[in-house]
């Protein structure tokens, strides 16, 4: 029920600026939009194209926010009203529904077709696939259609994602589904954890946004360290597994020079040494789990057997502080059983609760920890400090240790 007119009467308006984007080898979103509009006769898409063309001409944006939602939810739809609806009335409403996809962004054609059909019925037919946070973004719906559209989607198992001061939609790498590097089941962890926080996703009740991202190994294909407050990165605790035969093969086919220059000398901690002319040895005590040697020699080397995940806190974008990368909090947690995942959410609960109580309005977790001081944070959430949390111990003398604190003496006496 998007606003359409009869197909014969429908004609797009001139969009000279946008038309220049229809040339060149890379897929043109403008061509896609036009094709859709022409087929469906969507005036909303026409209006959006007109306004976009106008933005290209004037080099200014013309959307403003508002409040659009579905019953019982406080988030999930990004509302957009045109500031120049007098000029382009066809796109005066142009809201986006953020749909949480399955972990790993897996679909069947059947599931996608169902979405397309519902979206053709209620919305513009435009989709952003996917948003940077990981939502399937259905772009272009009027308020009047939102509830009905959502209800149909929801019946098929789709739910809205987060927006505003909520836990946001999660993201997980393909992980064990297809990747030999995965140290835990990212899809399952994503699914469990985000399901657990459903209430926080739908109803803003936090100081600000809170993102979880799940990467199966330190390659961090989800960019979790920079793009999420809670970055869950797969890791292993024991030795790198070595397939000696495959290793020999690599030396034979790639040559020693290649392996020296591309593997041995590139290990960040010089944990790998050449043995003789055609073998190498890894000093696992020095290995910092960077993944590089495994990446290059992936047939011969794999993460160890004792696998789990590390939790890094406080990654986020530019706002107020500049880019922030998450920092190491827990180097290793098992992530295999139900109980492991419960222990995980038990911990993240404590962290979120603390932040919810102590964070300022619009202050991300990482900023709050920095402002409040990591010592206070650790004490409050019941975590012990350990040296992996830092690159090196502090280099300024401005700390307040309790004066009774003399652990070293006990040690030395012993």
């Amino acid at each position: 029920m998007s606003e359409t007119t009869s197909a014969q009467a429908f004609k797009l308006n001139p969009t000279p600026m946008l038309d220049t984007l229809e040339t060149g080898p890379w897929p043109s979103f403008i061509s896609g939009f036009k094709e859709l509009a022409n087929r469906t006769g969507s005036t909303m898409v026409r209006g959006a194209l007109d306004q976009l063309n106008y933005s290209y001409q004037t080099r200014m944006g013309y959307w403003k926010g508002g409040v659009v939602g579905v019953h019982g939810y406080g988030a999930g739809i990004i509302s957009r009203y045109s500031m120049i609806a007098d000029k382009f009335p066809e796109a005066k409403e142009f809201h986006t529904m953020r749909i949480q996809p399955a972990p790993g962004l897996h679909y069947t054609s059947k599931a996608l077709r169902q979405i397309c059909d519902i979206w053709e019925k209620y919305g513009s037919g435009l989709i952003s696939m996917h948003g940077q946070t990981g939502n399937l973004q259905l772009q272009g719906i009027v308020q009047a259609n939102a509830q009905a559209c959502f209800d149909e989607l929801n019946q098929l198992g789709w739910d809205l994602g987060g927006a505003g001061a909520t836990v946001r939609t999660g993201a997980s790498c393909v992980g064990q589904a297809r990747c030999e590097m995965a140290c835990y089941d990212t899809l399952e962890a994503h699914h469990k954890v985000l399901s657990y926080y459903t209430d926080y996703v739908h109803r803003p009740q936090l100081p600000y946004k809170m993102k979880f991202k799940f990467s199966g190994c330190p390659n961090d294909c989800m960019n979790s360290i920079q793009r999420s407050d809670m970055s869950v990165i797969g890791i292993w605790r024991d030795d790198i597994q070595v397939d000696r035969a495959e290793l020999k093969n690599y030396f034979a086919t790639k040559g020693t020079e290649y392996i020296v220059n591309n593997v041995i000398t590139r290990c960040p901690t010089q944990a790998i040494t050449l043995k003789g002319n055609d073998d190498l040895e890894i000093n696992n005590k020095d290995c910092v789990r960077c993944m590089h040697c495994i990446n290059v020699l992936n047939k011969a080397l794999s993460p160890g057997k004792e696998r789990g995940a590390a939790l890094l806190l406080g990654g986020k974008g530019h706002l107020k502080m500049g880019n922030m990368l998450g920092s190491m909090m827990i180097p290793f947690m098992k992530m295999e059983t139900e109980e492991d995942l419960e222990a995980f959410t038990e911990l993240t609960d404590r962290i979120i609760d603390y932040w919810a109580e102590n964070g300022l309005d619009h202050e991300r977790l990482g900023e709050a920890i920095e402002r409040i001081g990591i010592q206070n944070f650790l004490d409050a959430v019941g975590l012990d400090a350990h040296v992996d949390m830092v690159v090196s111990p502090r280099d300024n003398p401005y700390f307040k240790a309790d004066y009774t604190h003399t652990p070293v003496l006990r040690e030395i006496a012993a």
């Binding site: 600026m17 080898p25 890379w26 979103f29 896609g32 859709l36 976009l52 001409q57 004037t58 080099r59 200014m60 944006g61 959307w63 403003k64 986006t96 949480q100 399955a102 679909y107 069947t108 054609s109 599931a111 996608l112 077709r113 053709e120 037919g125 435009l126 989709i127 952003s128 696939m129 940077q132 990981g134 509830q147 009905a148 929801n154 198992g157 789709w158 939609t169 999660g170 393909v174 064990q176 297809r178 985000l194 459903t198 390659n219 989800m222 960019n223 920079q226 793009r227 590139r266 290990c267 960040p268 590089h292 992936n298 047939k299 974008g317 107020k320 500049g322 880019n323 309005d361 619009h362």
Partner: protein, 356 residues
């Protein structure tokens, strides 16, 4: 509106039934992978099972028509299964090697380039821009389309030293995330305050609190409580505009584009690193932003020439030194590229290490 359906707060969609059967069978049991050609991965399981992945670029801002066509391909070549990557590429997985070549052919016929794997330039992560956001100064989709047209070859080939991740963001907030090369809006003037609308729509205390440098102060304008910006303090970040639409930071001329390089999120070899500013003041020049593409091409050209295998862009610059980076790219270094924010000191060269 009368509703029959009672919402099920189901959270993320279930995934198990969406996975390809070969994946379900070999879940967590993959042994290694190879890349038979750009855009194609071949994963081998401990069981001996093999799955081929064909990766193709998309418009990201797609439509139901485009999605349906991709579904057709999935039905024909990958048993009805498909997935998207974090960089908006689509992936088809099939155990059937014979499906790979025809699938590629059809994808290319539809205009979806096959590539983005290994040491290629993958699709550029980007953001809403003028199409949908309420605070953008540019149109990320357009900038990206323009750049990818120019970098097309490096998407379908694997000829860079290592993978190249790029992003483009339409305001300084940087929803596109950091990357090997990122194009981000940069404002060069303080916000002008629209006192007309301010009084109706501004939550003034939040707006004041949003400013990272406390440049916003309460004031009175025509007898009404309003806000003012202390120009000397203001760092043109636009954070206030996100809090209050009356803080008009965007400007057709004063809002520019900047190029950042060396962001790295993976832990491979070096620790993850923040990206660095290497070019700014580029005009916001729709519909094709040629200056941006030119700068990006220069950087990529120098990296392609000088980078060692497996060396990410930032690692290359760190190795050869940033002085050489500017020499090789022909970009000028200037005083604005010296940090003067909170942790400025740690980026200073606190040593006598210099190159001549």
């Amino acid at each position: 509106m009368s509703r029959e359906w009672k919402t099920v707060e189901s959270g993320p969609h279930t995934y198990r039934e969406l996975l390809h059967p070969v994946i379900v069978k070999n879940y967590g049991q993959w042994k290694y992978h190879t890349r038979p050609r750009p855009g194609v991965l071949r994963h081998v399981a401990n069981s001996g099972d093999v799955i081929y992945t064909v990766r193709a670029g998309t418009h990201r801002q797609v439509t139901i028509d485009i999605v349906r066509r991709l579904c057709d391909l999935a039905d024909r070549y990958s048993d009805g299964h498909l997935r998207w990557t974090v960089r908006n590429n689509v992936e088809f997985m099939t155990p059937n090697e014979a499906n790979v070549a025809p699938l590629i052919k059809e994808l290319e016929a539809l205009g979806h380039p096959v590539g983005g794997t290994g040491n290629s330039i993958s699709a550029i992560a980007h953001t809403q821009g003028w199409l949908h956001c309420d605070i953008p100064a540019t149109d990320a989709s357009g900038v990206v389309k323009s750049m990818m047209d120019a970098l097309f070859d490096d998407f379908v080939k694997e000829e860079m030293p290592n993978r190249v991740r790029m992003s483009t963001s339409c305001c300084e907030i940087n929803c596109g995330g950091q990357a090997d090369i990122a194009v981000v809006v940069q404002h060069t003037r303080p916000p002008r305050i629209n006192h007309e609308i301010l009084k109706n729509i501004c939550e003034m205390p939040s707006t004041v609190a949003r400013c990272p440098v406390a440049a916003i102060r309460p004031t009175t304008v025509n007898g009404q409580p309003s806000l003012m910006v202390v120009e000397e303090k203001c760092i043109f970040c636009g954070a206030c505009f996100g809090a209050c639409p009356a803080m008009e930071i965007n400007h057709p001329e004063y809002s520019k584009l900047a190029v950042w390089v060396g962001g790295k999120n993976s832990n491979a070899r070096t620790r993850p690193a923040n990206m660095k500013l290497v070019c700014h003041g580029l005009p916001n020049n729709p519909p094709r932003w040629p200056e941006v593409t030119e700068v990006v091409k220069r950087i990529l050209g120098a990296y392609k020439k000088g980078g060692r295998e497996w060396e990410r862009l930032g690692e290359w610059a760190d190795r050869i030194g940033w002085k050489r980076f500017f020499e090789e790219t022909g970009l000028p270094f200037d005083k604005y590229m010296i940090d003067n924010y909170r942790h400025a000191r740690v980026s200073f060269n606190q040593s006598a290490h210099v190159r001549f």
